[in-house]
Amino acid sequence: MQYPEPISKLIDSYMKLPGIGAKSAARLAFYTIDMREDDVTDFAKALISAKRDLNYCSVCGNITEEDPCYICKDAGRDRGTILVVEDPKDVISIEKMREYRGLYHVLHGVLSPVEGTGPEDIQIPSLIRRLQSDEVKEVIIATNATAEGEATAMYLSRLIKPAGIKVTRLAHGLAVGSDIEYADEITLMKAVEGRREL
């Protein structure tokens, strides 16, 4: 038996989300039918608003409602430091820490020749333009610890260092509060490599 068309369409829409397969999508779709109409309307509005009302900040590339974003506008932040991340989600993670007071730059991807992503396809040119003002003293590279993340970090450091700007990279190693017993070999190797004198 075929699902009625409205349900099929809804299932199809849910399946476009990451991590949702055919069965989960069907469950969500049938759950949606049983929801109160107000809730469904709010849900639909939230979806549209997330797409329409959000923009990318013209300075740092983060998602924002207003341009430039509230972090770039904040006069209390240290304009001498820029932290470079792959993804807007990473900005939220670092902001949760409440310790970092500098600015951000979101690359929206990493360099990967296999996927055809070159420097011009991610937000590297806009980062270089930002660095042309004398204000910036340090760039912290916080791309992921994957092969592509490392390659992107190395590439950026080669571009930026000659300009006399300090380039740093986040540390690799043990997660805080974790037991050595449960760490995998590679993490331990990185932790030993990056040990510090006490």
């Binding site: 360099l111 990967s112 020749p113 296999v114 070159g118 420097p119 092969a147 592509e148 490392e150 390659a151 190395m154 590439y155 080669r158 571009l159 995998d184 070999e185 590679i186 190797m189």
Partner: protein, 373 residues
């Protein structure tokens, strides 16, 4: 270590099967297509969780059955424990000492096996990629760090080859990014080269005397790693890294012309020499076989060195390919030391007096029985 007993349920052509093995030599005797190799494979799967013959686990389950089970009991110097592998169309479960192991990597390594099958001749006769895979598998069993560098090396290599092609056709022109990829590739490559060099030395150290013995001092085996890059000191990772970088700088034009990475561990080979002659090209069939066998037997010693106990040895259809003298030497070399399983279609060709009390099993159509004495 040795495998005390094994039970099969709906595995290939075995509906049920329970066998108790001898600590020494176990012979599976039977005609063609009766299930001798399937038994060897079952032992291999019990140890490694995967088959050496197929990557499709469904083939291991008997026709029209939902799942297959292999279980066994391992006896080590100080401990003994059961192992169990459950194969179903949904995946596999591995139980060590009754406890399910979420990560298969935590399961593998408790029963060490060395398998020698006719296909292993490819290590000597086959293409360089077969030999590189052999080295990678062997070192990988011992060092997880090596596997990390290997996976990263292969990943970066793919990226670099794509980028070189893009540079070649003029789609990109940024050489800074090429330098970054070169540096990344050299970092991982240097680790691979250092480990491979020392592994090959170890392998030669163990394989040469074995080969000498099997051939009754007629042949001298030498193993040599052929790197595509010359390094000044193979024990120093930093030095290898620098030498790799220098080679990439020198060969830059060639690489850009061809749009491919031309240097590094992925272009290397392993060469075997018997009496100073390359066995791959000049060796006879018998010499090639003996070389492959010496390498496999050397692995036994390598594992003994690493783990402190001898692994078990599976010889699938190997004896028939060796002449009497080589057979005798092989069997004396392993007896009393290593639990051995071998398959054969007939015991006629095998010198019975060499095998001290082998336990012989008759295999007929998915049924295993102890031979009547």
């Amino acid at each position: 270590m040795y495998l005390e007993k094994m039970s099969l349920l709906d595995y290939r052509n075995y509906a049920t099967c329970d066998v108790e093995f001898s600590k020494g030599v176990n012979v599976f005797l039977g005609e063609n297509a009766q299930g001798k190799t399937n038994l060897m494979e079952a032992i291999y799967v019990l140890a490694m969780t995967r088959s050496h013959r197929t990557s499709n686990d469904k083939e291991l389950i008997a026709w029209h059955k939902e799942f297959a089970k292999i279980s066994g009991r391992v006896q080590k110097k100080n401990t003994q424990f059961p192992l169990e592998i459950l194969l179903s169309s949904k995946g596999k479960k591995a139980k060590l000492n009754h406890l399910e192991q979420r990560k298969l990597s935590e399961y593998v390594g408790h029963l060490n096996v060395i398998l020698f099958a006719p296909e292993d001749l490819a290590i000597v006769k086959g293409s360089p990629s077969v030999r590189r895979r052999f080295i990678d598998m062997e070192i990988g069993q011992i060092s997880p760090i090596y596997l990390h560098h290997l996976a990263n090396y292969q990943h970066v290599l793919k990226q670099r080859n794509h980028y070189l092609k893009q540079l070649m056709i003029g789609k990109r022109d940024d050489h800074t990014f090429l330098e970054v990829l070169t540096e990344q590739l050299s970092t991982h490559g240097a680790h691979l080269l250092k480990e491979r060099m020392s592994f090959v030395k170890q392998l030669e150290k163990w394989a040469a005397p074995i080969h000498h013995e099997i051939t009754q001092a007629k042949e001298v085996l030498k193993i040599s790693y052929q790197p595509s890059v010359e390094a000044t000191n193979w024990e120093d990772v930093d030095q290898i890294f620098l030498d790799l970088m220098t080679q990439f700088e020198k060969g830059k034009k060639r690489e850009l012309d061809q749009g491919n990475t031309l240097y590094g561990p992925h272009r290397d080979d392993l060469l075997f020499f018997v009496n100073e002659q390359n066995v791959q090209t000049y060796g006879s069939q018998g010499q090639q076989r003996t070389t492959a066998l010496s390498i496999k037997l050397a692995e036994i010693e390598l594992i003994h060195d690493e783990v402190g106990e001898y692994p078990i040895l599976l010889l699938d259809d190997v004896l028939s390919e060796l002449d009497d003298e080589r057979q005798t030497h092989l069997l004396t070399a392993i007896q009393d030391k290593v639990q051995t399983f071998l398959t054969t279609t007939s015991l006629d060709g095998i010198k019975k007096h060499v095998l001290r009390q082998p336990r012989t099993f008759i295999v007929t159509n998915g049924c295993v029985e102890l031979e009547d004495k």
